[in-house]
């Protein structure tokens, strides 16, 4: 199991990489003790989005399926969390709501994925169908302003968005509850990222990972080696989409609201920019790149929203033209080559 943390599908397999990994982890864990709580809350917010990017990296970079549907599943889980948290009552039930919300996202991915993959929707059309589903969902939720659009106690509320759900919390000893906000949300997000990131590394370097990259390269050849291509694609799609669901449910919990604008364009384009810029071919590059972009984006937005959007567009353009494999991967590869050359140099 631990052996599979390293392998052909992941960059960064050496001692040096894991030393850096632990250093970053220690810094991340210590950060709340030094930073002010406003910044910690902000960082927690950035981390929430990372799951969606990791899921897209799995589907697109490794599996060759470009899904425009990450915010579709983000929205399904985000709204489901709200509806469930409101109806099940708060407290520990918020975690049940989280689990069910992700399950609902996975289930919708299973259904949508089944029709696309078994219907042989491939290539560009995969993107078109997922984007259409996303836009339809955004439009649908947008027209739920009327009081008749309610699930139990929860009102969907159209473009104004749904609110009133409790954030994730668990009852604690002495009658006090722990609310996952600020630094506790930050630690929860770090723990989840650690789990998802390491889990994906193991998955990608396992038998399964070998098969999905083979399918990306040549689905027919993969089938002729005895692999049920459609099954592998469907599983990949469900996992990748469920990760978007995790982001969505955490997002709703974080802000205690969610609106249709989290689903439609331009939100739907964001994960694609993050992953393309970072380097869709590698899970670590996506993790680092997405986080950096979110921090940079936020920093600039504080000064000017327009500047931030222009930057986003420029980044996508620059990626396509200068580093089609992604910038973070490009930098990582250069470092790798440099270290190698150093190692080989005499003396």
């Amino acid at each position: 199991m631990f052996k599979l943390l390293n392998g052909p599908q992941t960059l960064g397999n050496g001692r040096a990489f894991w030393i850096c990994f632990f250093l970053v982890l220690i810094i991340a864990l210590a950060y709340p003790f030094f930073a002010d709580s406003y910044d910690v809350g902000n960082f927690a917010y950035f981390l929430i989005w990372v799951f969606m990017a990791l899921g897209l990296c799995l589907m697109w970079g490794y599996g060759g399926m470009l899904s425009f549907g990450q915010t579709f599943f983000f929205g399904i889980a985000g709204y489901s969390y709200g509806v469930l948290a409101i109806n099940l009552g708060g407290g520990g039930m918020t975690f049940v709501a989280l689990g069910l919300a992700i399950l609902l996202a996975a289930l919708s991915a299973l259904i949508l994925g089944y029709f696309m993959i078994w219907g042989r929707v491939g290539g560009v059309f995969f993107g078109i169908v997922t984007l259409s589903a996303t836009l339809v969902l955004a439009f649908f939720v947008g027209q739920t302003a009327g009081p008749e659009w309610r699930v139990g106690e929860a009102r969907l509320n159209g473009y104004n968005g749904m609110k009133g759900m409790e954030p994730l919390n668990i009852p604690w000893f002495g009658g006090e509850s722990i609310y996952f906000e600020g630094s506790s949300l930050y630690y929860l997000a770090i723990a989840l990222i650690l789990l998802v990131y390491l889990g994906l590394r193991v998955l990608l370097n396992s038998r399964f990972g070998n098969v999905i990259v083979a399918i990306r390269e040549d689905p027919q050849r993969a089938e002729l080696l005895g692999y049920d291509v459609r099954k592998y694609q469907l599983i990949t799609f469900v996992i990748g989409s469920a990760l978007a669901g995790l982001s969505g449910a955490l997002y709703t919990s974080w802000g205690q609201f969610i609106t249709p604008s989290s689903i439609g364009l331009p939100a739907a384009a964001m994960p694609i920019v993050w992953v393309a810029f970072s380097g869709r071919g590698d899970i670590t590059a996506t993790l680092i790149g997405t986080f950096l972009i979110l921090v940079a984006f936020q920093t600039i937005t504080v000064h000017s929203q327009q500047a931030a959007l222009i930057l986003m567009g420029a980044m996508l353009l620059a990626t396509v033209m200068l580093a089609p494999q992604g910038f973070v991967i490009g930098v990582a590869r250069s470092i790798g080559r440099l270290v190698k050359r150093r190692g080989q140099a005499p003396g």
Binding site: P8, R207, N210, E217, Q220, R221, E223, L224, G226, D228
Partner: protein, 240 residues
């Protein structure tokens, strides 16, 4: 002798063109069976029908006593078929070693995998290039790699479509010896081949196709002596 593969009246039409029509062939367990015929005779199409990338317009295919006509390709592979198609397709961006690994992991446990991987890389003389992306290999090497991947499945029936295309005479001869070796170890072979010297080197029985139909069949000696076969081949030999 028991039949491992049998096609009954299989046909495949593309638009109006009957690429394969009413073909009956049977391959016995343990033999090396060659399928020959001029370009466009329908040999590759027949292979695709056997492995399942095409579904037949008519007729049926049975493998190891089971009707597999409607089975998907991966199911046929799981039942013991393996194929090297005419146009080589390896996983170009993945390292050579990983190409082999992906084929092997299908049925070999983790413990024995590394050993088997080395054995195959050595057998294919690809060990020095193991870390290169498969797309960087020469055409001949890609051909070897693909044969190796097909072999890695340890199939009961191996389908090879023009395995020696693009190989030097020396490489061709070695491929022939390898095929005979594998056959001696129990693997049934169905091979499409143009090179008659190569067919003479390996074949036991031969089926000749022409215009989508079976034109002649028999032991290698009979076929080579058949003047009609020589006729369809004469003037066609340079076409490929």
């Amino acid at each position: 002798m028991a039949e491992i593969l049998q096609t009954a009246q299989v046909s495949k039409t593309f638009g109006g063109l009957a690429a394969v029509s009413d073909v009956d062939i049977s391959v016995n367990e343990g033999e090396i069976h060659c399928l020959i015929g001029p370009n466009g005779a329908g040999k590759s199409t027949l292979f695709k029908l056997v492995i399942g990338t095409y579904l037949p317009s008519g007729g049926s295919i049975s493998f190891r006593g089971e009707n597999v006509t409607q089975r998907r390709p991966y199911e046929r592979v799981k039942r013991g078929m393996s194929i090297k198609m005419q146009t080589p397709s390896v996983f170009k961006e993945l390292p050579v070693r990983q190409n082999i690994h992906i084929a092997l992991q299908h049925h070999i446990g983790r413990a024995a995998l590394a050993r088997e991987e080395e054995r195959l890389l050595t057998l294919l003389e690809l060990a020095p290039d193991a870390t290169k992306p498969a797309g960087a290999l020469s055409h001949g090497q890609q051909q070897w790699l693909e044969i190796g991947m097909a072999l890695a499945l340890k199939p009961a029936l191996m389908l090879l479509d023009e395995p020696t295309a693009g190989m030097s005479p020396e490489e061709t001869f070695r491929t022939g010896e390898l095929i005979k070796q594998l056959n001696a170890d129990g693997m049934t072979m169905l091979i499409v081949e143009h090179d008659m010297a190569f067919v003479r080197q390996i074949a036991q029985r031969v089926t000749v196709m022409h215009f989508g139909k079976v034109f002649a069949r028999g032991a290698i000696g009979e076929i080579l002596a058949d003047p009609r076969v020589a006729e369809i081949y004469l003037g066609k030999t340079h076409e490929h």
